[in-house]
Symmetry: D2
Subunit: 333 residues, 4 copies
Amino acid sequence: MGVQKVEFCQFGAGRIGRIHAGNIAASDRASLRYVVDVNVEAAAELAKEHGGRPATMQEALADPAVDAVLIASPTDTHADLIEAAARAGKAIFCEKPIALDPARVDQAAETVRQAGVTTLIAFNRRFDPTLGGLGEAVSRGAVGEVETVIITSRDPAPPPVDYIAGSGGLFLDMMIHDFDMAHWILGEVPDEVFARGSNLVDPEIGKVGDVDTAVVTLTTKSGKLCQISNSRRAVYGYDQRIEAFGSEGMLRAGNRSARSLESWTKDAVSREKPLYFFLERYQEAYRNELAHFLDCLEGKATPLVGMEEGRVALALALAAKKSMESGLPVKMA
Amino acid sequence: MGVQKVEFCQFGAGRIGRIHAGNIAASDRASLRYVVDVNVEAAAELAKEHGGRPATMQEALADPAVDAVLIASPTDTHADLIEAAARAGKAIFCEKPIALDPARVDQAAETVRQAGVTTLIAFNRRFDPTLGGLGEAVSRGAVGEVETVIITSRDPAPPPVDYIAGSGGLFLDMMIHDFDMAHWILGEVPDEVFARGSNLVDPEIGKVGDVDTAVVTLTTKSGKLCQISNSRRAVYGYDQRIEAFGSEGMLRAGNRSARSLESWTKDAVSREKPLYFFLERYQEAYRNELAHFLDCLEGKATPLVGMEEGRVALALALAAKKSMESGLPVKMA
Amino acid sequence: MGVQKVEFCQFGAGRIGRIHAGNIAASDRASLRYVVDVNVEAAAELAKEHGGRPATMQEALADPAVDAVLIASPTDTHADLIEAAARAGKAIFCEKPIALDPARVDQAAETVRQAGVTTLIAFNRRFDPTLGGLGEAVSRGAVGEVETVIITSRDPAPPPVDYIAGSGGLFLDMMIHDFDMAHWILGEVPDEVFARGSNLVDPEIGKVGDVDTAVVTLTTKSGKLCQISNSRRAVYGYDQRIEAFGSEGMLRAGNRSARSLESWTKDAVSREKPLYFFLERYQEAYRNELAHFLDCLEGKATPLVGMEEGRVALALALAAKKSMESGLPVKMA
Amino acid sequence: MGVQKVEFCQFGAGRIGRIHAGNIAASDRASLRYVVDVNVEAAAELAKEHGGRPATMQEALADPAVDAVLIASPTDTHADLIEAAARAGKAIFCEKPIALDPARVDQAAETVRQAGVTTLIAFNRRFDPTLGGLGEAVSRGAVGEVETVIITSRDPAPPPVDYIAGSGGLFLDMMIHDFDMAHWILGEVPDEVFARGSNLVDPEIGKVGDVDTAVVTLTTKSGKLCQISNSRRAVYGYDQRIEAFGSEGMLRAGNRSARSLESWTKDAVSREKPLYFFLERYQEAYRNELAHFLDCLEGKATPLVGMEEGRVALALALAAKKSMESGLPVKMA
């Protein structure tokens, strides 16, 4: 059935790229045709493992056999690649964020709109069975009218400081996921953002001008309230929880552990820690988001999260950053 | 409203007696009038703390103001006291077991029957909100037809060896509670008993001819199956769980902790151990069983567990002992 | 040992007064001597049930046999009663809040300071085994350096609207408990308060100018962050949770249920809802806070929460109200 | 690296065969070279999907490129295939049970011994992270000396009655897994088996002479005790739990759910049901057992479960059947 497989050109052969390439290769509905990376060796190695061959962007986009691009390259290349792919008529699966500059996002969105290509922005949490399950259930009214949303995201350990220097900082590289989930679960674009942040975990992070601990309050026009808290370090592992509270009850999404094993000793009753980090926790989410993208290409679904949602998440992240800097709440346009 | 209070004569001023006397004193429907104990000082002290005064059995039972007796004296006095109280027309609240000899139980039951006095045998677990709640729910059909019952009872630490010497051993002093719960939850008198026991915890227990670890299988005529396991020692505290499985699902009664506090560290996610032992775990059960007895006296309820249930639990315990000794399953008469 | 019992004069014979009077009566270290209430009948009834007799304030405070006062009368009488009791040299157990006007609180605090009487402000949550256990453990360094505190408080159902009209509103009658817990757990007086509130539960509450759903962010000088969320209604019952996160892990205090019973059916695995409301949930907390007060009088402890903590909680509540009204964060003096 | 991949010939293209073939294909250390099935179409289809081509046993075993066989054909072919593969010098991965006749097992074991080929009997539960994790931890002394083991296995729904007719019945097709786990966790071959069974779920099962509900007690020479209970139907899904209790505490292995999602409503606090059946629950276990087998072939591990363990599990199952039929405990030879 090879003729029917969706042929991918993947941009980016780094850590997240390896996951996506592996999922493409493991899918019986997709196939990896090209890998594009400035690091040609990395591209070659990934292609060797999961199929396809290294290529340049031009070469790959010119090949009519390519149905879709998967963009997992550095953030500052996303918008350019989205536009190039859109112009070449390829479907687009792009890692978040689209860009750090909202004007650039708008421009890329316009290009995509004109090209009319299917586009999925890879906010992976929406595809996690637990967190995505919460989002879907809330959308179906499982808690009645949503009133309060409480989101906790903590990484097990901070990233290298030089990563932070280029990532836009905590609100843009980390909390942006929570903004997208908040937007989805609230069912409204928040109207106001208030943020506070601290440098409590690693002084080096403070030196590059970022915080490692932050809380945000989102308020919607209809009065719904959302609280988000982030930390760059949790000694017990990746902490990813959401609580949606409403007129008819509450849904709570908790962490996941590798094993359901309890130990009862003279000291305590213990169970396992959460899965260590995103590679462990979101394994299924990454597979599911690819499957969702393929469903969209087959006309069985429409993208759960696209350019518009990417734009909103970025706008919330930038507003949070501005609020933290100014000390005041920031209204969304 | 003192005139309407149920006036008690309590037999036994030991550990379990202190609990019952305290509950009588704390109830606004009951009052302690006499305490009878061969240890007159203990009786006097208990009376001083919770009301009433020391007395002899004869004196107390001759007092028409006494409405009820609470028997918390040593096991070998239970049947005599039940009969004396029955003949004096007093309502009876008696600690389990009624006696260690089934013929003696039958005799006492006959005396009670003739006297027509209200009698409650204090199988406290039936009155524990969690375990009793399971029993009641199963009786109401919460799991459909009961098919399998699994009961786990473990004490935090073994009793003094000289206690065991006089108690009749594990099946009679400890597992008897589980036999009563099994009887209730199965909704049938078991037809066959198979037991195996070992001396794994304390060699001294073996020296007095008892086991400290035991498992029992009960089978009913209709094919329901029940597994009970006991240990005289659990390093993590009192372990009291029941699982009732049937055609429409399962009810699981778990342990109780003093606090709902979780600790997430680099090593594990921990919560509190179970409450240490019966005094902590069954505090509410003891209060509830007294309240139930008072309800019975007020005509609002009929005893949930009486002479007949006491007889069945004893018979099962003796059959288990016999099975362990013979190595063969034992049929109930 | 009656001569050594602490003799109480209790002010207030309403709902919370009944609980305290019952606990005094049940304690073997305390005794109820007088009940003072403008509703003399209520006072008489409470005295009949739990001991003592109705009296006027003057009469009661003039009696040298009175060791302590328990103030459970309406909020607007608290400060006057505190001062009168202090001047009479009585130890003081006072329900929160001290007053709604910070100047009045300062004045009363000064009077107490001069009188040198032992004073406990009854923030009951500090004495709940679970929530108080979290606070104590955090104080002992159980999570390392505290970084983020997340507090959720939801009532099962809103109070009558006329209660709200007189209570000062959600921040002063409800979230004030959370402010006290935050203050304790953070280990610092917060430096800034930001609040947002909505009227989502009951339009009548909005009509009297209050909110029924609110979130607050507290920031300390050292950069610790705290998020509080409140709702006047949770269909599943009283929701009282705290999460303290720090450099060495997290402590989570969860809700309490009456029974540890799980039901496994074809639809779901279910357990019991939380205890319904404060009377059920904080039964032990009320007993523990009285015991703590008695310990203080016996010189075995010093008050865990006094006038100063009462002042801080009030100041935070007022700042939150102001922030919500102004739309801006409010700095604490 | 294709030359280093372990080349498999798989026997059996049925349900469990599909899982194994998929895992071989997905592994970067293994490759499917032949599929052998009397249903040649099924073999061809499986080969088309996962690699290799249909072949006869003779053809496949004669190919020196074949390193290993994976036997997933009907039970009555296992012993013959084991022997043929052993004589051909192929490593053997065989589904349980080896045979239903212990003499046949011994014969096959002798052939394997003489051939000296690596052999793994696929008791998949040993490779489940949760259940296998318990077994490993107990082996390392996590509960001190093991004293009591309690195993619960319930299928969501009974198999077709004609399957039971050929499978040897509940003890041989279902409880055999529990016998293997018990053997492993007890760390001893049980000395005595006592079984009771009932026909409570489906009368048709009784008509073919089998039970659908059963409990077993195992006793070891050193006095360890084990209770196993099985049901062919659990309305809430696959129920696979083990509890190992010992001198230093307890390990409990619980069920697994697809999502960590809780729903708090006016009725209850609910979470998800367990994963539906073995295909869902043991997905990881099947992958892990293949990986373990490959590790054994690479000399990094020795088979955790081989012919001897297969023999013990069968012997226990047959003893249980005999005990149920005779009504008496059965001693192991």
